[in-house]
Amino acid sequence: LRFREHVFLKFLGLDKVPSPQKFQPVPYIMKKIFQDQEAAATTGVSQDLCYVKELGVRGNVLRLLPDQGFFLYSENFSEASSCLQKLLYFNLSAIKDKKQLTMAQLGLDLGPNTYYNLGPEMELALSLVQEPHVWGRFIPKPGKMFVLQSVPWPQGVLYFNLLDVAKDWNDNHQKNLGLFLEMLVKGDRDAGVNFQLEDICARLRRSLHASLLVVTLNPEQCHPSSRKRR
């Protein structure tokens, strides 16, 4: 029998069979949510599929969007206290407009959470990019800075709430020009530290992994009354 695959794919909300080129890591939280739901379905416990209790938000589809940006290299590395500059970009086109965004969490994995190889205290700055990146111009014109925080080591993963930004991008895709991430060394630097810093920044560039966890609620599948009393 010729399996009418496209009918079933449409039912799954897909327009064609995905053929991923690169396998993305599945974050712990998505695995946990999946396993909790499987356990509830197996034991017959009724569950509200329009509420993600592990995240405390309404929603019935979770998406982890990988960063599609790139590193920027400024010429005057030696003088500036800048250690790392990256344009972060997340493709929100998979989210069709009628779905409501209920969560958008940026995850910045700065590398292993260990006391080995501690580096100097850093400062992390996140800004919205206001203008499209012009090739040849090293740094995009950063707009509103909405995060500036010190990053003592060791770090692991840092999380930032981007719900308002993502809603803005989702309402108007032209606005989605990405984010400008910059990590600076706190305090002054002398020549001796310089050499180590190159290694630390190179290691940071290698280990940095950014992703955006987005939760959406499809009003057609999740009526307000569908939320069962718990």
Binding site: K16, V17, P18, S19, P20, Q24, E38, Q47, R63
Partner: protein, 114 residues
């Protein structure tokens, strides 16, 4: 007078049959991260008049089975799912996004005449 209900052997009566959908059989294991497949099951079997008075069948099925006995041109009641449950799927789409989605009513838990 009691109408002699036609005798139907148990195995032909409406009940749930096991059906495991294996995503590898569909060639979907390359993009579905979890689960590997799921027990969808299906309902199949006869709904004679005697059945509609015993198992979890609707009143409508009772009347239709009664009318089928009186006038065989009226079709019998049919064997349908009466209790369903959802599944969750973790998969990767063509934009390298990892997606976790729930699908209601994918697993047949119970069957009855409706």
């Amino acid at each position: 007078a009691a109408i002699p209900a036609p005798y139907a052997s148990c195995k032909n009566l409406c009940h749930r049959h096991q059906l495991f959908i294996n995503f590898r059989d569909l060639g979907w294991h390359k993009w579905i991260i979890a689960p590997k497949g799921f027990m969808a099951n299906y309902c199949h079997g006869d709904c004679p008049f005697s059945m509609t008075t015993s198992l979890n069948s609707s009143n409508y099925a009772f009347m239709q089975a009664l009318m089928h006995v009186v006038d065989p041109a009226i079709p019998q009641a049919v064997c349908i799912p009466t209790k369903l449950s959802p599944i969750s799927m973790l998969y990767q789409d063509n934009d390298d996004n990892v997606i976790l989605r729930h699908y209601e009513d994918m697993v047949v838990d119970e069957c009855g005449c409706g």
